[in-house]
């Protein structure tokens, strides 16, 4: 793949540089982060930070206001008070840090109004997928209406999908224009996360190109996956995107955020991701405004491991609500 040129809305051309990735080397590098051994306080730090970075997600056809209410409750208060009391009883000498709320909840536009009501004043962000999620196979005007509705209903973050069909057939201008158009709609009201759906782009060279294109087009975050395609987020794909973010920062001084989504289920995985962010981008990105996990079952494992880290033992799982 060579460099790609796209036109900005003003007519000026920009070049997305060709930046080859060696797959074997990238996979190898990504696996080194999983070998870090994170213990004691540093582990607790990571587990707590991961909670604040979690985009608690439900994206089902069966989603209902009831389900979303429950999710919002969990997002604001991940555990009942009983948890903290029990933990203090088991670890009397420790100062137990309060469990923070999660970063955001992530729902379909239809569920945004109810979520907005539930989250009001909580500090939890409200992300909505949009642009004909997950396939992105609808005309631009409908995608934009999708975004506008979500924003109007109160979404503070928009998770858009790129048109992978256009990308794979080489129509990069279309991909670029759509991101620019969505950004325009979001501009002052919502943060824009651009989902590349790396499981469909397949090659790391594609992932790099799509990442750069999204950043140039105005993404605040780049995000791996919809969660509807396997594989979803992987360590190597996230590494490629983090390195693109670093290079983009070096060139422009602009810090773009990152969100791996799908497939991150355990606290251990989350800690590996944080190690990777730490070593590729550094401390500035270890903050919910710069890094998020798109996940649903991750939260309970984070809580389980926090419990274990303080008390030295696991607790019965039923103490944690399912959602």
């Amino acid at each position: 793949m060579a460099s790609v040129s796209v036109r900005m809305p003003g007519g000026s051309k920009i070049t997305i540089p060709h930046y080859p990735i060696d797959m074997i080397g990238a996979n190898e590098r990504a696996s080194t982060f999983t070998k870090r051994s994170i213990k004691k306080e540093s582990k607790l730090d990571a587990l707590y930070t991961a909670i604040t970075m979690t985009d608690l997600t439900t994206l089902e056809g069966a989603d209902t206001p009831g389900k979303v209410e429950q999710l919002c409750g969990k997002a604001i208060h991940p555990v009942p008070d009983q948890f903290m009391q029990e933990l203090q009883r088991l670890a009397p000498s420790r100062t137990i840090r309060p469990i923070p709320h999660v970063g955001a909840i992530c729902v379909y536009p239809e569920q945004v109004p109810i979520a907005a009501r539930c989250l009001e004043g909580s500090g939890v962000e409200l992300a909505s997928v949009a642009t004909a999620f997950p396939a992105g196979q609808l005309p631009l005007d409908i995608k934009l209406r999708d975004v506008k509705r979500a924003v109007k209903f109160g979404a503070t973050e928009i998770d858009m999908v790129i048109d992978r069909g256009a990308f794979l057939r080489g129509d990069f201008q279309k991909v670029f224009d759509e991101i620019v158009a969505v950004k325009d709609v979001c501009e002052d009201n919502a943060h824009l996360k651009v989902i590349l759906e790396t499981g469909e782009l397949k090659t790391y060279d594609n992932v790099r190109l799509a990442s750069w294109m999204a950043m140039e087009a105005g993404a605040d975050f780049i995000k791996t996956s919809t969660g509807k395609v396997a594989p979803a987020a992987t360590m190597p794909v996230t590494l490629i995107m983090l390195q693109a973010i670093w290079d983009y920062y070096q060139e422009t001084g602009i810090k773009i955020g990152m969100k791996p989504a799908g497939g991150i289920r355990t606290a251990k995985q989350a800690v590996h991701y944080l190690v990777m962010v730490n070593e590729v981008l550094g401390s500035d990105w270890l903050h919910p405004t710069m890094f998020r996990f798109g996940a649903s079952s991750l939260l309970n494992d984070l809580l389980r491991q926090i419990f274990k880290q303080y008390s030295g033992q696991y607790y019965y799982d039923d103490i944690f609500s399912l959602d």
């Binding site: 070049t15 870090r36 930070t49 009201n189 500035d284 405004t289």
Partner: protein, 522 residues
């Protein structure tokens, strides 16, 4: 990275700046929770990993270690002992015997007896059985070996655990497979063993080098007298226990310890049929001289100043990993280390920038900590040698860069470093440092890269980084080096032959070629 239009950059920056102010104004009126704004400078988690040391409780040190001769541990005739030091703490670990000329003679006699009475009479399949057994025991006791290797030599536990010990076992497995297939290894030829082999190994990969030497020798039907380096004798002595556990016939493997004099006694012993040496070029030359008038076979695996060539069309992030792995793996104590970085001028600055960033994430410190990337320099002598060369290198000018990291107060530690902008005739560009010190220079064309890479008295290894296959093949074909890696570095496998040209020595270890030196092929 190629140039980007700067006007777009400005636009983007302006846009974000404008947006940020707007956002602040809007935030107060917004009913929803405030949108996370990355334009505000936020303080992220300072993620310092807590210590995660591997426990050393698994190791029980003997009061003193004797010589392993004829299947038993025997006290040295000399009565002399030396001390092995943990270079990360400078504490003494154990005392080990110094073999005198007479002890060497006893060991060679034991090897000869074993060769004549048992080992050469066994079928290949039987010999293979013992080698498989050793390999399995190594795997079973891997953690013990890894911890001991790290304590004795200072290398990070993640390397001894993930590289040294598994590879050592893999070598035994691999050559075990050849033991009963020697006649198929060299079709149409008649092969036979050669007798007693004297083997002298270095301190940088103590157990792995022992495996490289012992496994092919035994598979081919020889018996051996092996001497580990005096800096790192302990895993070889633990391997002696493994030989006992595997019920290897007495005298097939004799492991004797000592310094240079012991080595010389092995080299000069009349009843040794073959010498295999891995170590410095200076000692290698001495050995070659003393063997010149004898009938002994000889293989030498010596030093190197290997070129790691990065072309502008390389996958740069992965190439940077290759630089790091090439020179900072095992503190740079690697004979095939990619100690000369040649980078195409058009990507030189971006590669150096990325390299510096990557070096800042290397964790230097306690080798037993599972998060340590760069451990201790192997010995005080080596530490002094490295610092002396770095001081001399600084005097020659150019740019010297050292990773910012805090080093432990005790022990011999050296921060990962590089020299750039030095002339090709400078000390660091030409002489092997055998430490975490890289020499960086640039080139303009592929031809120049090849000329520069070959401009050395060594010829052990080279790395080529390019996404263009034809360029890789053309370059590889023109390099005078025994091992050439493409888009990777420091990858070892028992099936792949290893060895050098010129002052890097002769003979190959590993693979089918690694059987050659241990066989009479008619």
């Amino acid at each position: 990275m190629t140039k980007k239009k700067t006007d777009k950059k400005k636009v983007a920056k302006k846009k974000t700046a404008k947006k940020a102010t707007k956002k602040v104004a809007k935030k107060t009126t917004k009913k929803m929770t405030k949108s996370s704004t990355k334009k505000k400078s936020v303080k992220g988690l300072v993620f310092d990993y807590d210590p995660a040391p591997e426990s050393s409780a698994i190791i029980t040190f003997k009061k003193k270690y004797d010589l392993f001769i004829g299947g038993k541990f025997v006290a040295p005739e000399s009565g002399k002992y030396m001390t092995s030091i943990n270079p990360a703490t400078t504490e003494s670990l154990a005392r080990f015997a110094v073999a005198s000329e007479k002890d060497v003679d006893t060991a060679v006699k034991a090897a000869r007896k074993a060769y004549q009475t048992s080992w050469s009479k066994l079928s290949g399949a039987e010999r293979g059985k013992y080698l498989y057994r050793i390999a399995r025991i190594l795997q079973e006791r891997a953690r013990e070996f890894a911890v001991l290797e790290t304590m004795d030599g200072g290398k990070p536990i993640k390397e001894s655990r993930d590289v040294d010990i598994p590879l050592a076992a893999a070598h035994f497995f691999y050559y075990a497979g050849w033991a009963d297939k020697l006649e198929y290894a060299f079709p149409g030829k008649k092969v036979s063993s050669i007798g007693v082999c004297g083997q002298i190994i270095p301190w940088n990969f103590p157990l792995l080098m022992a495996a490289w030497k012992i496994a092919p020798a035994l598979a081919a039907g020889n018996t051996i007298v092996i001497k580990p380096a005096e800096q790192t004798p302990l895993t070889a002595l633990l391997l002696a226990e493994v030989c006992q556990e595997a019920e290897l016939p007495e005298g097939v493997v004799n492991i004797i310890t000592g310094a240079g004099e012991t080595g010389a006694a092995i080299v000069n012993h009349k009843d040794v049929n073959k010498i295999a040496f891995t170590g410095s070029t200076a000692v290698g030359k001495l050995i070659a001289k003393s063997i010149a008038k004898t009938n002994k076979k000889l293989t030498l695996e010596l030093g190197g100043k290997s070129a790691n060539i990065i072309f502008e069309d390389a996958a740069l992030d992965q190439a940077v990993e290759g630089i790091i792995n090439g020179i900072y793996f095992n503190q740079g104590h690697v004979c095939c280390a990619g100690s000369r970085l040649l980078v195409e001028e058009s990507v030189r600055d971006v590669v150096l920038k990325k390299l510096k960033k990557r070096m800042s994430t290397l964790r230097v410190g306690n080798p037993l900590d599972k998060n340590t990337d760069v451990g201790a320099i192997n010995s005080k002598e080596q530490y002094d040698q490295i610092t002396k060369m770095v001081a001399a290198g600084k005097k020659e000018g150019g740019e010297f860069y050292q990773a910012e990291c805090s080093l432990p107060r005790k022990g011999y530690f050296h921060a990962p470093s590089y020299f750039a902008h030095q002339s090709a005739s400078s000390l660091i560009s030409r002489v092997e440092v055998f430490g975490p010190v890289l020499s960086i220079s640039s080139f303009r064309t592929p031809d120049e890269a090849i000329t520069k890479a070959n401009d050395t008295n060594y010829g052990l290894a080279a790395g080529i980084w390019s996404e263009k296959g034809s360029k890789i093949h053309k370059t590889a074909g023109s390099l005078k080096a025994g091992i050439i890696w493409a888009n990777t570095y420091n990858k070892f496998d028992p099936t792949s032959p290893f060895g050098g040209y010129f002052e890097s020595g002769y003979g190959r270890e590993g693979g089918l070629q690694g059987l050659h030196p241990y066989l009479e092929i008619k």
